[in-house]
């Protein structure tokens, strides 16, 4: 227990320093730091609805944060979670609206699996190039982000567009491919139904458990760690390093793809162009703050989810620009930064 508390110490301190810097920035630019920070915290966790909103925001961040964390475990830097999330979301949306007449217990898992598979394939490209050609995965994943942004934009404004709406969006997914959500029953959940909270949160927590189990209880978990700590040494002890690199990227991409799936199937119920405010990029901060622990990923995703939804409240109440949240995030990345990245190439 003492060691668990010690592990929380540094991230908590970093977060506190980042909040202090944000308050300073607000003060220096003529705002009211105390009022802004209070509005931020109240907006994040101040009421039942606020907490649900923050958890809803945290849902894709947990999954995408796990994606970045799994790759980091193997010493790989997956900057492409955003692209993997987008192709995953698109695959889930397509599976959700195009396939008809299946029962929920088949259709929903199929739609989720499509998202995970698309994300896995997208990320595996970077893994394959890295393993067999030594091409830096950072470059490939960055470039694939922009390919995914343009590709999904192309699909959603052309071939897969729902022409009954002005928005660039696919048709809505079938009832049988929808994740349970508070928005489905406004008369029962009243104000809470507008929080976007869905069963996606449970899927995210399940993913945390699965990743924790892989790390702690499987031979593959050991191989990931050994590859991350030193591929040369790992290879001499019989770890199939190339296969681990490819499969780690695929697993990472599957988690990021799933982040897109739960947003589509639980929140928007369709692929809406530019629906992601950068979850894939935020997930880098989430994973770094978590420091390699899957449970840490959940905690830091909830912290960032709160930050993101709280910053909207802060803007509304105190007229402080919500970009403060992004500044806090960047400071956290730098504060925690280098410690958990064992090697870059």
């Amino acid at each position: 227990m003492a060691s668990a508390l010690a592990r929380l110490g540094r991230p908590t301190l970093t977060l506190a320093i980042a909040l202090a810097i944000a308050a300073l920035v607000i003060g220096l630019t003529g705002g009211e730091p105390l009022a802004a920070m209070r509005a931020l915290l109240e907006g994040a966790f101040g009421s039942g609805a606020a907490i649900l909103r923050s958890l809803a925001k945290a849902t894709p961040l947990i999954l995408a944060g796990l994606a970045v964390a799994v790759a980091l475990r193997a010493g790989l830097f997956n900057i492409g979670a955003e692209g993997q999330l987008l192709v995953g979301a698109m695959a889930s949306a397509w599976m959700g609206f195009a396939v008809k007449g299946m029962p929920l217990f088949i259709h929903l898992p199929l739609a989720l699996a499509a998202g995970a598979a698309a994300g896995a394939i997208w990320a595996a490209i970077a893994g394959l190039l890295r393993a067999w050609q030594g091409t830096h995965e950072v470059i490939v994943t960055i470039m694939l982000n922009y390919v995914a942004i343009n590709l999904t934009h192309l699909l959603v404004s052309g071939p897969l567009k729902d022409h009954s709406t002005l928005a660039s969006a696919t048709p809505k997914v079938q009832q049988t491919a929808r994740l349970w959500s508070l928005q489905d029953d406004p008369s029962r959940f009243q104000a809470l139904s507008a929080t976007n909270f869905s069963a996606g949160f449970a899927i995210a927590l399940l993913a945390v458990l699965v990743v924790w189990f892989i790390y702690k209880r499987t031979a593959y978990g050991f191989q990931l760690k050994a590859t991350g700590e030193g591929p040369e040494v790992a290879a001499t002890t019989g770890v199939p390093v190339k296969r681990v690199i490819v499969s780690a990227m695929a697993l990472s991409g599957a988690l990021a793809g799933l982040a897109g799936s739960v947003e589509v199937l639980g929140v928007h119920r369709r692929f809406l162009d530019a629906f992601s405010p950068g979850y894939g990029f935020d997930s880098i901060a989430v994973a770094l703050l978590a420091g390699g622990s899957p449970i840490g990923v959940a905690l830091s995703a909830i912290a960032f989810g709160g930050l993101s939804s709280g910053s909207l409240q802060m803007e509304l109440v105190t007229d402080t620009p919500r970009q403060v949240a992004g500044i806090i995030q960047a400071v956290v990345i730098l504060g925690i930064g280098a410690r958990y990245v064992r090697r870059t190439r």
């Binding site: 960055i142 934009h153 400071v331 280098a338 870059t344």
Partner: protein
């Protein structure tokens, strides 16, 4: 938009002009990328340097005139480069992590300041310039900078030192080269070039600043560095091609035919293909940290 630079000489060359307009910021930032990476420092922060340059250039240009604005933008880009170097070489932050954080910081700080300085000011101001920097100035730079850099890197003692630091900092140190000073110079210069690219966007091409106006050009520049095999002239040529794709894409908007998204994703695909098919090898020590105490 072509009306903003009717006095441009190059505007009279009908084919080159729209292409160059899109390519200028890419060429300058890509040259910056080459300088930094040849010295062994991954500079994902190009995007952030450009955005900071675009914002500072506009603000300084509004208050103190165009020349001061341009210098301010270049200085601001250099400062962001210096921050990247200090974080990575003094505080031990991983080069990729630092680049990601700097881009995030630049995006949110400029957007934040845009609200404070312009949108919510009493009375609200517009982030707009009355006059523009002549576009020809940047066109000249767009050809001169890559050529000079190419010569500088291959023919001057400083260029040789810079490449040595990028290939093997240890050997360079043993040969008596101040590794940290060379890298500092390279990364600051890299930021200054990207800052100039940003200034072009806000002060010459459109004459206003808007949120996230660099919009991924820093990453396209990075793609040009790879496609150009870490050579200034090669990177500039790749940037010109990417600029051509962009201008074709802009001209085709609203017309039937090839979807613009295909052209927009091409630079990134080219970079991926170039990274493995051309056997395009980065400098050997790219991304490797150096011991700060011993340099």
């Amino acid at each position: 938009m072509a009306d903003v630079a009717t006095d441009s000489i190059i505007a009279s060359v009908p084919f080159l002009y729209p292409e160059l307009r899109q390519a200028v910021p890419l060429v300058l930032a890509a040259c910056g990328g080459v300088v930094s990476e040849r010295a062994g420092v991954i500079n994902i922060a190009l995007e952030g340097c450009m955005l900071t340059g675009a914002f500072v250039g506009l603000v300084a240009g509004q208050s103190f005139g165009l020349a001061a604005g341009l210098l301010g933008a270049i200085a601001a880009g250099g400062l962001v480069g210096l921050i990247h170097l200090l974080l990575t070489h003094r505080l031990g932050v991983n080069q990729i992590v630092s680049g990601v954080a700097i881009n995030l910081l630049a995006l949110h700080v400029t957007t934040f300041l845009m609200r404070i300085v312009f949108v919510r000011a009493e009375p609200p101001r517009e982030a707009k310039l009355a006059a523009l920097i002549p576009i020809d100035l940047f066109f000249v730079a767009c050809f001169a900078v890559p050529l000079l850099l190419q010569l500088g890197l291959s023919r001057t003692p400083l260029g040789l030192r810079l490449r040595a630091v990028g290939e093997s900092p240890e050997s360079a140190r043993m040969a008596g080269i101040g590794v940290l000073s060379v890298r500092t110079l390279a990364v600051v210069a890299s930021g200054m070039l990207a800052g100039a690219g940003g200034a072009y966007l806000s002060m010459s091409q459109v004459g206003r600043f808007s949120d996230d106006m660099v919009a991924g050009r820093g990453y396209i520049a990075l793609a040009a560095v790879i496609a150009g095999r870490w050579m200034p002239v090669g990177a500039a040529a790749a940037a010109l091609v990417f600029g051509l794709l962009d201008s074709v894409q802009l001209q085709m908007q609203g017309t039937a035919g090839l979807p613009p998204e295909i052209l927009r994703m091409t630079p990134y695909l080219v970079a991926i293909v170039a990274a493995f098919a051309l056997r395009s090898k980065p400098p050997a020590a790219l991304g490797a940290p150096i011991e700060p105490s011993r340099s």
